[in-house]
Amino acid sequence: MIEFLKQPWAWYISGPLIGLMVPLLLIIGNKVFGISSSLRHICAACLPAKIPFFSYEWKKEIWNIVLVAGILIGGFIATQLLLNNQPVQINPKLVTELSGYGITDYHSLVPAQLFNFQQLFTLKGFILIVVGGFLVGFGTRYAGGCTSGHSIMGLSNLQLPSLIATICFMIGGFIMANFVLPFILTL
């Protein structure tokens, strides 16, 4: 059993499990699945600065912050107990492309050669980590949700705005990954 759990999980196992988060949260506490709103609640709790967007009773949404704390702990548990230390298996075409940028280490899910504290102080690392992170926080709030709130929760509830948002996430990612990122990786 443990050996089975240590393998990377196939999409047809993990996808339905992720989908079940939607009814699980609704049934255990009438909570709507969504993650990016937690960033807004953190702002409201730590630095509201009298901005109307952050002036609300954030304490009612503490559950959302508890949920993301759980995700962090889950990531830790999975890595410590359930990882088999095999390199990430990806399409050989991508392996060839990335080796051209000197990326050859597939032992961690987050590429250790790109995402580390030394890289943070280079232009490439700054763009990937700081600019990328900023766009994630700004973009999800502007869009009113992220992959969980729109792509999973919103689509599950057949909401057209969520479909539009999801298509735009994909277009944005497609443009960045194919046309801009190759240049950034050469920096």
């Binding site: 996808g15 759980g70 900023f134 994630v136 709030r141 948002a165």
Partner: protein
């Protein structure tokens, strides 16, 4: 219309008015819960974090594969999650399933705004750069990629700046 209402209410903005303006408030529960009931959400988060790591959707490599159309994996995960979600919500609606507290489950409708297009594109850029959406950033930190704490702080800063200039952006 919404924009005007926000400005007029700035001085007397009650919690209810802010809440009625958007769908960021995911707590639909009307009864108060004791503090220890948060353990439910902690456990749910832990399960979600384990799934995200084990299926590698938090991997920058997997995200690059997805956006280059080189693997079905990510599409399979998101697609089957959505199908499961649709079926679950239909079951909840048809059979009028209640919460553990006996409350009726009501799902908020999402309002269309231009933000879904502009914000969606900006988030897409960030997703391809960091290899993370908001949920996975937390899981990535958990896997030991501590530099992603900086990405998280930057994402919080991005959210804060959005809140600051929100009224000036096309909605």
């Amino acid at each position: 219309m919404t924009k005007k209402t926000t400005i007029q209410n700035k001085e007397i903005n009650t919690d209810f008015e802010v809440r009625s303006l958007d769908a960021d408030f995911n707590n639909q529960q009307t009864t108060k819960e004791p503090w220890w009931s948060h353990i439910k959400y902690l456990v749910t988060g832990i399960l979600f974090g384990i799934i995200l790591v084990k299926t590698e959707v938090i991997s920058w490599f997997r995200i690059q594969e997805m956006f280059r159309l080189q693997s079905f994996h990510m599409y399979g995960v998101i697609g089957s999650a959505v199908i499961t979600g649709i079926i679950s919500i239909q079951i909840i609606k048809r059979f009028n399933i209640k919460t553990l507290n006996g409350e009726k489950i009501e799902l908020p409708r999402k309002q269309f705004s231009k933000g879904q297009i502009y914000g969606g594109l900006l988030f897409g850029f960030g997703w391809a750069l960091t290899g993370a959406c908001p949920g996975p950033i937390f899981a990535q930190i958990g896997t030991g990629a501590l530099v992603m704490i900086i990405a998280l702080l930057s994402a919080i800063a991005g959210t804060w700046v959005y809140g600051l200039i929100q009224e000036k952006l096309p909605q």
